[in-house]
């Protein structure tokens, strides 16, 4: 029971992080990052190969680069950094000159290709089989199978999610967030008003990448395995579905979406009695995800919790008196 609960909660924290990042990129800034999942994967692989011993250990049944056997929290910090550093090269190719829908398909293709490359290069990250036996953080000091450890891990993951939530809140409620939203609404006009759209997009891309990298590290530290099958491009679409359902541009909406869609679906199907041939339920799940996107975009495009309208407090009386000269002609 502890294992089940902590698993659900860690997944929730990871999905919340991912949805906050997607909401920041897509909801606030209008960037459709269809390669989001590779940022998460980059973080997970980084954390894995930094915390794993050399690949000759464990009988050498898997091959991978590095294997530095670093102790926590270095692998997590590195994962966050790698997620962030992956953003500029991709952003420089994709985000500068292409039309918004081109950007999206370029990143989609990138996601498919990255998965192909990793799958077909076993010496890099063990190919299709993926990495396993990834040491849990601090597993040399604590028993990672004890209830206390599981709960501590869960608490840590949730605390990180809360911290990132507040960071995201600061961003979207600031003048900077307003510039991002202005760019989303009309990029050409924003540029004509002095906004450096490329720089705005790049920073959001980097911040989102860092969050994605961290989320990957949290997940791989808990489930201890990571393989290409866990980061195929449709996984990104689940997160988009979550943000569209929850409400893009609203961080509470991102959290709600994360709990309803990825977490909710996973848990709901767990309790379904098995029916049909094997593979039918996952297929139907995907149909539902696609249907959710279409349904929400049609009936409620702004989601359950839409971006809120920002109303400024009325001016103080002094100001009113102070400006009688406001000319009216």
């Amino acid at each position: 029971m502890t294992y089940y609960l902590t698993t659900v909660l860690v997944y929730a924290a990871v999905d919340i992080l991912a949805c906050l990042a997607i909401s920041l990129q897509f909801g606030v800034s209008g960037i459709v990052n269809f390669s989001f999942i590779i940022f998460q994967a980059a973080g997970a692989y980084t954390a894995a190969v930094l915390s794993l011993p050399r690949d000759t250990a464990n009988g050498g049944f898997q091959t991978y680069i590095l294997g530095l056997n670093l102790s926590f929290p270095l692998p997590w910090i590195a994962a966050t950094l790698v997620g962030a550093l992956l953003a500029p090269p991709i952003g420089l190719v994709v985000l500068r000159r292409l039309r918004s829908d081109y950007q999206a398909i370029a990143m989609l293709v990138l996601s498919v290709i990255a998965s192909l490359v990793v799958t077909n290069t076993p010496a890099f990250l063990d190919g299709a089989a993926g990495l396993s036996l990834v040491p849990q953080p601090l597993s040399d000091k604590f028993n990672p199978y004890s209830e206390a450890y599981l709960w501590a891990y869960t608490a840590g993951a949730l605390i990180l999610a809360v911290i990132v939530f507040f960071i995201a809140q600061r961003i979207i409620n600031s003048p900077y967030g307003r510039s991002l939203r202005a760019m989303r609404e009309n990029e050409v006009a924003a540029k004509a008003l002095g906004k450096n759209a490329v720089a705005l997009k790049m920073t959001v891309f980097v911040v989102g990448g860092a969050i994605a990298g961290l989320s990957g590290a949290i997940l791989v530290g808990f489930i201890t395995t990571w393989a290409p099958s866990t980061w195929l491009y449709p996984e990104t679409l689940i997160l988009f579905a979550a943000v569209i359902v929850g409400g893009r541009g609203n961080n509470y909406g991102a959290v709600l979406g994360a709990l309803l869609v990825p977490v909710g679906f996973e848990e709901a199907t767990r309790y379904l009695p098995p029916f049909g041939p094997p593979g039918l339920i996952p297929a139907l799940e995907w149909v539902c995800i696609g249907g959710l996107i279409l349904g929400f975009l049609w009936f409620r495009p702004r989601g359950v919790l839409p971006e809120r309208r920002r109303v400024f407090p009325p001016r103080r009386q002094v100001a009113e008196v102070g400006n009688p000269s406001a000319s009216r002609d």
């Binding site: 398909i105 192909l116 297929a283 799940e285 696609g290 975009l297």
Partner: protein, 294 residues
């Protein structure tokens, strides 16, 4: 060296298949301003439609028209029932891309339980193998190349000489203006989806014929060289897509011979990245989406 020449021969087949599919893909974009990411899945669905007939004992060449008709009707309905309503609602470009990806996911996973999870192969007779120096092509492969040439000429004739083709070009260049000039743009768009859908169906079936086997998962694999060829040529330009297909088809096959077949798609992607950095508008710059030849 002979290996590369042989690969060049395979490249001729690859480019033929990519050309048929990429012309359909890029015309959808040119005429309706819509990047249809479900294109690969419609290809696969059409390939399975042809397979149903083929599996019942009909020759694959006779099943090919069924694939074409299936692709045409499917694409037409897809636009009528999903894309067009969303576009009328004012959904922006980004929204439409997300919608087409969601549609792609739905098609793939509705198909899975119906057609199964395993790869299938057409029952076909590849025919005698003909040798041209180091190039070895089966009769079937030669027919695929011939089919592609016929299709390209037909598209050229359609756009160049027919009233429908001119109406399509006008609609692509400026739908509002075209409508004001009395062009029935709604009907033009319907016909465009039928024609490009048929191309999609043909492409899916011949792609199935040219590969040892195919499955639902092949859809997204098909899509990458198509996107690469379309963007390389200049999105929306059918002639650009043809040139793109030639380059991508040959490059992927020759690199497969030199490096490794697993990296075929990676080469297509590398070309795509280069184009995006150096010339995002593609080789034939987009002018009114469907630029006239000559």
């Amino acid at each position: 060296m002979s290996l590369i020449v042989a690969a060049f021969g395979f490249g001729l087949v690859s480019m033929s298949i990519i050309a048929i599919s990429a012309v359909g893909f890029t015309m959808q974009f040119g005429i309706t301003n819509m990047i249809n990411l479900a294109y690969g899945q419609v290809m696969i669905a059409s390939a399975y439609a042809a397979y149903a007939l083929n599996n019942a004992g009909v020759s694959i060449w006779l099943s090919l028209p069924v694939g074409a008709i299936f692709g045409a009707v499917f694409s037409f309905l897809l636009n009528r029932l999903v894309y067009a309503p969303f576009q009328r609602k004012g959904t922006n470009l980004i929204g439409m891309v997300i919608i087409s990806l969601a549609v792609s996911l739905v098609i793939a996973n509705v198909m899975l339980p119906i057609v199964g999870y395993y790869s299938v192969s057409y029952h076909q007779d590849p025919g005698t193998t003909y040798h041209f120096g180091s190039i070895a092509l089966t009769g079937e492969q030669i027919l695929i190349i011939a089919l592609a040439v016929v299709v390209m000429l037909a598209i050229y004739a359609l756009l160049r000489f027919t009233r429908l083709g001119k109406a399509m070009r006008a609609t692509a260049a400026n739908p509002t203006l075209a409508r004001n000039c009395g062009i029935p743009t709604a009907r033009v768009v319907d016909l465009a989806w039928l024609i490009t859908g048929a191309l999609c169906g043909v492409a899916g079936t011949v792609a199935g014929m040219n590969s040892d086997s195919f499955s639902v998962a092949s859809g997204s694999e098909f899509l990458i060289p198509i996107i690469a060829a379309s963007i390389l040529g200049g999105a929306g330009s059918p002639y650009g897509a043809m040139i793109g297909a030639v380059i991508i088809g040959e490059m992927t096959e020759i690199s497969a011979a030199i490096i490794s077949p697993e990296y075929k798609q990676v080469v297509a992607f590398a070309v795509l990245v280069l184009v995006m950095v150096l010339r995002p508008q593609g080789l034939l710059a987009k002018r009114g989406a469907l630029a006239a030849a000559g």
